[in-house]
């Protein structure tokens, strides 16, 4: 079994290094193929491990070697394959494999084809390290690793120039990449602090040791640790106020968006909360905050998705929104439901993104849904997939999203928190609306793309076939809810609905479904026939607010970036003009006083003699005065 762990873990690394060897050479198809195969191997290993665990309930814990050892700190490279990590592994490797295969088609014209696979595989490796590590530091390795890969991949088309925000809200891929990295770093600091708190209070960063020690820790320590860790999670999972990078990250190639910014990396924050559930479960205030923030983000992101015109950004907002759901669940203590939604979401969201990628590929990188329409004729397969995924996203029975999202909303109800409950329900309706607004605008109605002279075409067959596992899972994943529950509660606390909720479960489901259907119908009415733009709506305050993402990016720019740059310039000025001038000033004072003093060296002997006499008098006076003074 140990070797399987290593295969699962290192196959992507090998793939990355292999592809990396050819990174600077022109496209080689075999690179893509071999990478995909290696990823598939990783998936198979993960799947076998999953089966092994579910069948034998044996947790696999391997220690590769020591990493950092100093003082009392001892961090090994240890890997833990248990219920939670194996779930993540399966999800990650599965989606990755699909995305790898997909990329063979999607990136076929890109001159950096090989490099792309190298990055992509490296990302998978980092993600696996993140989920499989048996300690917080290892998790942090993966955490930062995915950050870097995300940076590399968002900025994959680094050669694009910066443009203004009006032209492209993300300015440029490289800008977006930097934004993502830096914002994540802000959160990472929180995460690091969390690790420090844990280390100095427990003496170790190993999960098992830490969790065992929780009863000995004071609430205040636990609370600060939980806060710090959650700050880390906020960054990776793009929670408000660190959310702006996620939509900008859409500058990356679409497979990247699918894999990293929908299915896997962004869920790392949720994973962290789930992983560290023993800490969060004893810090109710923090957990409640998480739930509230999650709910808020769910609504907040959904609202922005309502009006957006960019195909990928809409999906990005929906990702954000769904992450909010997951946090809501995790915050409310329903960790397994959060994990379940995470997995289900991974499938349908990746599918959605890949579908969007197909559209983009077919539309020659056009992303504005206002310029599409009627694509279902030319892109049948994609239409099917995206429709399916959108349905799943909207939470329509019996697709995956229905089971998971419904459970979250039920949880909110079960916790008796009506506000969260209502918001989540409303958001569910909004989700359905914007998902189908997008579907209808893209695939139905008039063929607006013709005005632009674009000739869209369907994606390669094998790509569509490769996407099918996701499509299937998007449909059926929810059906395994019960099985998953029994599987995961070996590790995660079970979340039981109260009697009362049980009774009302059906009604809740109906309400949710009603909202979902309502959203779809609204979208159908509005957009099925084609695009109807109304000046009035678009000029309204709310529309403006939403389309500009509540002006938050601009606000950040104005309040943080610009002042920081100005302050930096100021600091530089201070450095050269004040500190350095002071230092030079000392030298200058000495030099100038030397210049002044040398005046006494006039060359005239008479002056010298005067100096001598004056010196004599001074010495005599000083001597006599000092005698008098004594």
């Amino acid at each position: 079994m140990e070797s399987l762990v290593y295969i699962a873990l290192f196959a992507p690394l090998v793939s990355s290094l292999f592809a990396g060897l050819f990174a600077m050479t022109p496209k080689k198809q075999f690179v893509g193929v071999i990478s995909s195969l290696l990823l598939f191997a990783s998936f198979v290993a993960s799947a076998i491990l999953a089966y092994h665990i579910s069948s034998t309930n044996e947790i696999i814990h391997v220690k590769l070697m020591d990493w950092i050892a100093a003082g009392n700190l001892n961090i090994p490279f240890g890997f833990l394959v248990d219920y939670v990590s194996v779930t993540m592994m399966v999800v990650v490797t599965l989606v990755s494999t699909v995305v790898h295969i997909y990329s063979n088609g999607y990136m076929d014209h890109d001159k950096s084809f090989n490099r792309f696979f190298s990055y992509l595989s490296a990302f998978v490796f980092s993600m696996l390290v993140l989920v499989m590590s048996d300690n917080f530091a290892g998790l942090f390795i993966g955490w930062e690793g995915v950050g870097v890969c995300s940076w590399l991949l968002i900025g994959f088309w680094y050669h694009k120039a910066d443009v203004t925000r009006d032209v492209n809200p993300s300015i440029s891929p490289s800008w977006a990449a930097n934004e993502a990295f830096i914002m994540n770093r802000i959160a990472d600091l929180g995460m690091l602090v969390g690790l420090f708190i844990i280390y100095w209070n427990v003496g170790s960063l190993q999960y098992d040791v830490v969790f065992k020690a929780i009863p000995n820790l004071t609430p205040i320590i636990l609370t600060t640790a939980a806060i710090a860790l959650f700050i880390g999670a906020m960054g990776k999972s793009a929670q408000f106020p660190l959310h702006t990078w996620l939509t900008d990250a859409m500058e990356g190639p679409t497979p990247v968006s699918a894999l990293i910014h929908a299915a896997t990396m962004v869920t790392a924050g949720v994973f962290l909360v789930i992983r560290a559930n023993p800490i969060f479960s004893v810090t109710p205030e923090v957990s409640y905050f998480i739930a509230a923030l999650g709910t808020f983000v769910a609504f907040f992101a959904a609202s922005m998705a309502l009006v957006n015109r960019d195909l990928k950004r809409i999906i990005a907002f929906s990702t954000l929104s769904q992450l909010g759901y997951m946090f809501a669940a995790a915050g409310l203590g329903a960790y397994w439901i959060a994990l379940f939604h995470l997995a289900a979401h991974a499938f349908f969201k990746a599918l959605l993104f890949l579908g969007a990628g197909n559209v983009m590929h077919g539309m020659h990188n056009e992303l504005d849904i206002f310029k599409m329409g009627g694509l279902k004729k030319v892109m049948r397969g994609t239409y099917l997939y995206m429709g399916l995924a959108s349905l799943a996203l909207a939470g329509i029975f019996p697709l995956a999203g229905f089971y998971s999202k419904d459970a979250i909303i039920e949880t909110a109800f079960n916790e008796g928190n009506l506000i969260l409950f209502i918001i989540l329900i409303v958001t569910a309706g909004m989700t359905a609306f914007y998902s189908f607004r997008q579907v209808f605008l893209t695939f139905h109605g008039d063929e607006r793309y013709k005005e632009l002279g674009i000739h869209p075409h369907e994606m390669y067959k094998y790509v569509l076939i490769a996407m099918s596992p996701l499509a299937i899972l998007a449909v059926i994943a929810g059906w395994f809810k019960g099985w998953f529950n029994s599987f995961i509660i070996h590790l995660l606390p079970n979340y039981e609905m109260s009697e009362h909720t049980h009774h009302l479960a059906l009604y809740i489901t109906l309400i949710v479904s009603a909202f979902a259907f309502g959203g779809i119908i609204l979208a159908y009415i509005k957009y099925n026939k084609g695009l109807v733009r109304s000046e009035k709506t678009e000029n309204s305050l709310i529309y403006k607010l939403l389309i500009n993402q509540y002006y938050i990016p601009i606000l950040y720019e104005a309040v943080i970036s610009k002042p920081y740059a100005e302050l930096s310039k100021l600091a530089w000025k201070a450095d050269t003009k004040i500190i350095d001038t002071f230092v030079d000033g000392i030298a200058k004072v000495l030099y100038v006083s030397g210049d002044k003093t040398r005046g006494m060296q006039s060359g005239n002997l008479s002056n010298y003699l005067n100096w001598m006499a004056a010196g004599a008098i001074v010495l005599l006076v000083v001597a006599i005065l000092s005698l008098v003074a004594v």
Partner: protein, 184 residues
């Protein structure tokens, strides 16, 4: 009484003469008054019983030194009135008076000769020149001889510096241009 009169007379005269030396614009006056001052100082020596010193003072100073200065003066052609821009008088006076005051302060204090142990007591049985001679050729023989060397140096120095050979400098001349005859 005689001593007192002599002291004050000599003092006033010496001070006056030396002031002339210092302040006179006329070189001749200055030199003459210096020579006279020296004579008076020899007088002081006689007053305090340093007869030998008085004689030496007369011979060496008034005789040799002043003669040298006189020759020098003629050589330098400074017999006329001096046209020198002397240093500001006020400044000089301040310094002079201050030094004088400091000296007075220093010397004005009580000095008790009895507390002093004479390291080279004057033998009252000898005349002053005898005593001086005795000291010079015993205890101070070495300084005496060194002084002789010093005088030799002064002589050689005087000869060299004033000699003709200094007229043509080898230091300033490029080596290639030095004629054999320039080098002795």
């Amino acid at each position: 009484m005689f001593e007192q009169i002599a002291f004050y007379l000599f003092s006033v005269l010496t001070i006056g003469l030396f002031l002339i030396t210092v302040f006179s614009k006329n070189v001749l006056y200055a030199m003459t008054s210096l020579a006279s001052g020296m004579v008076l100082i020899a007088g002081f020596f006689f007053l305090v019983g340093a007869d030998f010193l008085g004689v030496v003072q007369l011979i060496v100073y008034v005789g040799a030194v002043m003669a040298l200065y006189a020759f020098g003066m003629m050589f330098f052609n400074v017999t006329k009135d001096l046209k020198e821009k002397t240093t500001s008088n006020i400044w000089v006076m301040i310094i002079g008076v201050t030094v004088a005051l400091l000296m007075t302060l220093m010397f004005g204090g009580a000095i008790n000769p009895d507390a002093i142990y004479a390291s080279l007591p004057i033998n009252s049985s000898m005349t002053n020149p005898q005593a001086v001679g005795m000291a010079l050729f015993t205890k101070y023989l070495v300084p005496f001889e060194v002084a002789a060397i010093m005088l030799l140096i002064a002589m050689i120095g005087g000869i060299v510096l004033a000699g003709k050979k200094m007229d043509k400098s080898l230091t300033d001349a490029e080596d290639e241009k030095i004629q054999p005859k320039d080098v002795k």
